[in-house]
Amino acid sequence: MKCSLAMVSLLAILPGCFTTRTTVNQQLSTEAAAQIATGTTAAEVVELLGAPTDIVQLGHRSAYLYEFQQTKTMGFLAVVVGLMNSDTRSDRIWVFLGPGGTEVTHVGSSFDADKVQTGMPWSDLND
């Protein structure tokens, strides 16, 4: 009885730590992104990268957004104190198509999802 009571007391006051990783959408291929250039057709873009996350109409033109987002959260929970820190970054590819939406005119890409960091709230996670 005494032993189990001590165990319960210990478990009640022990601090807890956790880390989580959350992703949105599938990871983007840098190799596939590198194959997209001015003149690539919309069909080839979809063949290389799949269905876009979003399609935006820009006048007579359109743009496809491909996005992969990653979040890492770290937490520390003690008796009365909770500390949490989360970091979110993403890989993005914007493909701008010309009038009619058939051929690529511009491409912009950023690959930062793998740079997410974990740390305590006082940690400086900036690059």
Binding site: V56, L83, S86, H106, S109, P121, D127
Partner: protein
């Protein structure tokens, strides 16, 4: 007797944990561009060079005859302290203080229909979006006579 003291101590510690709590949260969401946009960009630059300098934007949308691109980021802090005091078997009173610091900073670029940069602004996104929304829309040539 010893057992009852331990039980009382356990009850007291559990009571204490439910009385006071302090939570400190921080959230990083994206990062500012590595390049200082003010020195790297100038009006008249084309879309390709802007994408080369800043990478892919977070958002793109149509604005009158042209379009806008935006980048955004924040580093938010939240500190909350809660004190809860049980007054009776069925009631309690609590005091909670929360300090939140979160201002989304951003960069807004406006391009004309020929993909030339016509305006760029950096600052707090709320202000930038307010400015952008406040811009009067251009009248279509066919509608100018009606106005």
């Amino acid at each position: 007797m010893v057992g009852s003291k331990r039980l009382a101590l356990l009850a007291l510690s559990l009571l204490f944990t439910s009385c006071v709590s302090v939570v400190w949260e921080r959230e990083h969401w994206h990062r500012p561009p590595r390049v200082d946009p003010v020195s790297a960009l100038q009006e008249g630059d084309d879309l390709a060079s802007c994408l080369e300098v800043l990478g892919a934007p977070l958002k793109a949308w149509q604005v009158t005859e042209g379009y806008a691109l935006s980048w955004a980021w924040y580093d938010a802090h939240e500190l909350s302290c809660k004190l809860q005091i049980p007054l009776s078997q069925n009631g309690s009173t609590s005091f909670k203080y929360t300090s939140i610091g979160r201002e989304t900073e951003g960069l807004l670029l406006l391009f004309d229909a020929e993909d030339k940069l016509i305006l760029f602004k950096e600052g707090f996104l709320q202000d930038l979006m307010g400015e952008e929304k406040g811009r009067p829309s251009a009248l279509l040539p066919s509608r100018k006579g009606e106005a």
